[in-house]
Symmetry: C2
Subunit: 161 residues, 2 copies
């Protein structure tokens, strides 16, 4: 799998990944009706470096962004968001992007990575982050209104790089 | 003390409050050299409701913003930032703004308030938030590079409304 910086030419395929995740509203704290342009502006934000994971045949299997979690005195801690294409689940795409993001963040001078809002009911993500060395710093009580489950917790997770 | 929505006409006085706090870089994770316009754009952001605390004589003694801490399924939790004018410290301005913010957030439908990044060395702020009912959900280790103290922790604090 080739993980490379995303370009504007990837927008359509990135949107194909973002759209179902945003519309489902189960894992990201983003407005479910967020328009395509707003979603792409967010994912390709000026504060972010955005990557895509290219499977064999040039198909985009996943995308992630890397940014500083805070500015100023907090800029040494990285933050990332990852999404995998619905038809590429279970193939290690998230894991490959995570490892790529750790190396990239380290190369950019970050010393740690923090996830601010991992929805606790997203068990697959929580398990993967823990397997990859993240610890749960705390639980944000009833922080996320899940469309099917109602109020669930969210987790702040942290990993030294 | 009158706490009221800020208007564009307050920009100069708000900047007089923001500038020393941002330039000092000891309490907010913002770039210390953030230009005036970027700072005002941030403080008066489209996602925020911004207020000023007017002391007797019309002087602006403090300012705060209120926003949703997350979008989508996380939009029921509020987030605020508060700054007090250097020459108005110790007069209960932060406390008055905090109480105003709790009432305003509750009226806007928020059910809790979260501070994502309280610099742990900002002892006065930490003590005030605890006195006003916030609990520390977790400590973000070495999350803030303090200009005088070096790496210090930051706190995630939470209060039900």
């Amino acid at each position: 799998m080739l993980i490379r910086p995303a370009t504007a030419a990837d927008s359509d395929m990135v949107w194909q990944i973002l759209a179902p995740v945003i519309r489902a509203g189960e894992t990201y704290a983003l407005d479910r009706d967020m328009p395509r342009e707003a979603a792409l502006d967010y994912w390709f934000g000026a504060d972010k470096t955005t990557f895509v994971a290219e499977a064999a045949g040039g198909q985009i299997a996943g995308t992630y962004y890397l940014r500083a979690n805070q500015a100023g005195g907090g800029r040494h801690v990285a933050n990332c968001g990852y999404m995998v294409a619905a038809d590429a689940q279970g193939r290690g795409v998230a894991r490959a992007m995570a490892r790529h993001s750790f190396a990239t963040a380290l190369a950019q001078g970050f010393t740690a990575m923090q996830f601010n809002f991992v929805v606790a009911s997203n068990l697959r993500a929580v398990a993967l982050w823990q397997e990859l060395g993240f610890i749960v710093l705390c639980t944000l009580p009833a922080a996320f209104d899940h469309p099917r489950l109602g109020m669930v917790d969210a987790l702040v997770m942290h990993r030294r790089l």
